[in-house]
Symmetry: T
Subunit: 68 residues, 12 copies
């Protein structure tokens, strides 16, 4: 109940769009961080090639519980 959490800032990118970029960032975070709890989207941007969205980048803060 009185846990302490830490937040890290990640940028996920995807060829498909916003939701997939979020999923990729969290999946990657899960490889090295335990107890992932929530995320907050900070920025959505992306790169363009030949006048088409090449990939979408979502910056998010991911919160996780610090072990006792």
């Amino acid at each position: 109940m009185s846990n302490v959490y830490k937040k890290v800032e990640l940028v996920g990118s995807s060829l498909e769009g916003v939701d997939d970029a979020i999923a990729r960032a969290i999946e990657k975070a899960g490889e090295t961080i335990r107890n992932l709890d929530w995320f907050e989207v900070k920025e959505i941007r992306g790169w363009i090639e030949n006048a088409e969205v090449q990939h979408t980048q979502v910056t998010l803060q991911v919160g996780f519980r610090l072990d006792d």
Copy 2:
């Protein structure tokens, strides 16, 4: 032309992603509010379970015309 509008702040959530969370919040608002006119996304966040996005939460302000 010189109408007065009111805005309420809602949080929709979805297992599918941003667009669906918006749709759910507006559908719910429509059950009790008439004349819904526009929405503005204020925040996108979400909850994680086992290193996967469990559901996405979108906070939005929904504007509706007050009856004369």
Copy 3:
């Protein structure tokens, strides 16, 4: 390497959702602007009709390289 870029602000709209509204704005920009390079989402909003999202509007800044 020391290029100068310009940014223009566009609003794309779509019946399908956020990703599609981004794509439409960039496709339109590509008709008249060369060297489109990146975009930044500034605002997500939309219009409602009969308590359903009618279309989603995404305001974005699109950056492009100025020709030498």
Copy 4:
């Protein structure tokens, strides 16, 4: 002295300008809310027709004292 207040967000619009749009939103709020106490302007925008301001829209938060 230790009252609790509530704030609602309204959008007033006027053919005349900023001050009149504020007045209209507050007059409308007064029809259904007692003890209106203060307002805060959040946004000023408007609609254009034939290159003239058609009407000015002011978004404001209006605070009122909750009855004991």
Copy 5:
């Protein structure tokens, strides 16, 4: 899991300080709103009399689950 929440904006005030002003706003909200779930502090301000803090005002957004 896919609930919709609503947020209302309240201002609590207290002769004692920040924590007590939060508590008073939430207690008041609980008299008329069910399913209160979380709060977010938006602003801390207050009134001064004879060069002493007379009371502290905390503006908060309070989120609650809409009934199904």
Copy 6:
């Protein structure tokens, strides 16, 4: 319904005040831009001479529909 809009940023100034500065910026924009649709006020400032407001400057973003 799925139009793309562009926004330009203008600064209008007036000896009379906020509403007139908005009107002047939009009138000027209308000389070269078709399909002006809405404006958003970004900043209000001004210049002072002999302790009187000399003129008021309003920065606004003006949105217009791109031709198909």
Copy 7:
């Protein structure tokens, strides 16, 4: 050309509206400060009585040149 300026923050209020509240704050500042040069509006708010705007308050930063 390489002057140093100072900014002070003032709140003007008026029974008439935004432009007049700006003018009053600057007129007052001019009684004690020389070389007033520009102002920037930071906030517009006001007090309500009997569901009518009682007076409008405009917070502004006023810049003036420091004497050499």
Copy 8:
């Protein structure tokens, strides 16, 4: 009713916490400024020593009525 107010920005600090840091800043301001009327908290930060909060710093804007 149509008074002009000035705001000054102060930083109070305290070994005890947020409320006490606010009180100290206002008490200090009261030594040289008359007619103090309200405060707005702008920032809460602090210094750490040996992994304990040494003192809490609260930045606030304090408003006071200018004499006629």
Copy 9:
């Protein structure tokens, strides 16, 4: 004098209030990080149960000196 610092973002929570939540986050950080130097409060929020604040959550950035 020309040190480099790093900042991490933590969320402390407490049954008692803002000051205690700050203290808990810093105490926890001190278990694994040396040379903690300052903190900045970014957000105050909390969870509610039965119309009472259950615990207060304070998000802070904590700065520490990197070893040479």
Copy 10:
């Protein structure tokens, strides 16, 4: 005195630093825009290669007077 200005958003980049990146963006703007009057820095960022700043990018808004 009652001129209308337009602002465009540019990104200058430089191998030397902030001041030079500003100068390059303005020099480039001057090739196609007359009556350039002022600039406002919106963002400073840059690219890194081999742990050294490769070039610094400054985003600025540049204001110019529209011809009568």
Copy 11:
């Protein structure tokens, strides 16, 4: 340790660039204010003449310790 600080807002300008404009504002402040302790950059802007930066203006808040 429990000092109270005051912050004033200054604008320094320089023909050379950002660092020099900061230095000039602080040097000027030092002529009339004792115990200057820190500064925070709030805005960087400047004036253009003949498509060259004429001088750079940096707005900063300067903090100083109030005497006991």
Copy 12:
């Protein structure tokens, strides 16, 4: 192309100015982090001694590619 990036927040300081403080923070980061890619300036501040800038502090977020 679909990489995930992490951002860390650093504060560099320098006796010389903004550009040098950025360079020092990035050089330090490069000692322990591989694949540094970009930086974003978040805040510029500094410490004053005897009415002169003692050193300039630049807070930046530094982004780097996570290894696959």
